[in-house]
């Protein structure tokens, strides 16, 4: 009885909170000054149809680089923590328990069909980041989700960690090099106007933004894959 009353009270409180939001909501008629400035500047200066990716990979590209560095540190520390645990576990259990765990046929067949689809979708998101919603980070996460599916379908699958780390480091170095090119040939570090802006709204446009997006996608995808691979017991 008391529990039921508490639930009713909680629901009523949530209702009040959301009713407050609903009543107090006023649709914005115009953009705030900063947003307005960006919406005007990004298509004119950078030639990117998607304002958000334009901001993330040019004006705020340095922050993006920082975020990727944070992700890299997460990957490294997860490896550090889990590697120690894994060694202990291997002594206790060995591979006997791992061998009995196999995904069902439905999951394996589904993975065969879905992994290529997800990978294509990831590439689409990454390469069209300057035109529509998406970009390197999002596409990289989608690519990593296809890696999860591969792992679920066959937990004994081994990925080439060296190749993944190598690709990730190469993408990171190239990202910084493009940034340095911006320092030399354009107005500053990670200025995307080192490449010609091209026709607004076409695939090859917006200067170095698609290039940076691809590098970011490769880097994020590889980093997340390495993290996922390390979580396998």
């Amino acid at each position: 009885m008391i529990r039921r009353a508490a639930i009713v009270l909680a629901v009523a409180q949530f209702g009040l909170v959301f009713a407050g939001l609903l009543v107090g909501h006023v649709e914005r008629q115009s953009l705030p000054p900063l947003g307005k400035r960006y919406v005007e500047l990004v298509p004119r200066e950078l030639g990117a149809a998607n304002v958000i990716t334009g901001i993330l990979l040019s004006y705020r590209a340095f922050d993006t680089l920082g975020e990727v560095a944070v992700l890299f540190m997460v990957a490294a520390s997860v490896g550090l923590v889990l590697a120690r645990r894994e060694r202990r576990k291997e002594n206790l259990l060995g591979d006997a328990r791992l061998a009995t765990r196999q995904a069902s046929e439905i999951v394996r067949t589904g993975a065969q069909i879905l992994v290529p689809l997800i990978a294509i979708f990831a590439v689409y998101i990454i390469t069209n980041g300057h035109l529509s919603a998406g970009g390197g980070f999002q596409g990289g996460a989608v690519a990593a989700s296809s890696v999860i599916l591969l792992l679920l379908a066959d937990p004994r699958q081994r990925f080439d960690q060296q190749l993944l780390s190598g690709m990730e480091s190469t993408a990171g170095i190239l990202f910084v090099l493009v940034g340095v090119a911006g320092l030399i040939f354009a107005n500053g570090f990670l200025d995307s106007r080192v490449l010609p802006l091209g026709q607004f709204g076409t695939f090859f446009s917006a200067g170095a933004i698609p290039l940076l997006s691809v590098l970011l996608g490769v880097k994020v995808g590889c980093e997340l894959s390495v993290i996922l691979d390390r979580f396998r017991t």
Partner: protein, 112 residues
């Protein structure tokens, strides 16, 4: 006319989503909750996305891809979840009558 059909489809989809929610709340154990949620939300998603296609005919191809993707992923993921739950012996309701997975396992073990 097209918009009316689209609206009706979306409404039907919303009804299925509602039944999925009801199933999640009312079903007795994890497995039946899972099947209620999966079946109803798969059909509900298909209907809602199909209804949107009537409002935006130029999106039809992309929406068909979305439907295909939902039809592929939703059953597979809930199948994998239910199997995982079975593996760690999540209890079934006391009214369970058939356990097909156990039966088939015993049969294959007996035959081998």
């Amino acid at each position: 006319m097209a918009e009316l059909i689209g609206t009706l489809l979306i409404l039907a989809g919303a009804v299925f989503h509602l039944s999925a929610g009801l199933g999640l709340l009312r079903m007795p154990d994890a497995y039946s909750r899972m099947q209620a949620g999966t079946k109803a939300s798969t059909l509900g998603n298909t209907l809602v996305v199909g209804g949107i296609a009537f409002f935006h005919p130029d999106w039809t191809l992309k929406l068909l891809l979305v439907i295909y993707f939902v039809l592929m992923t939703n059953p597979i993921s809930s199948h994998a979840l239910a199997r995982a739950a079975y593996r760690i012996r999540v209890p079934m309701t006391s009214r369970t009558a058939v356990d097909a997975l156990r039966d088939s396992r015993e049969k294959s073990r007996g035959g081998a």
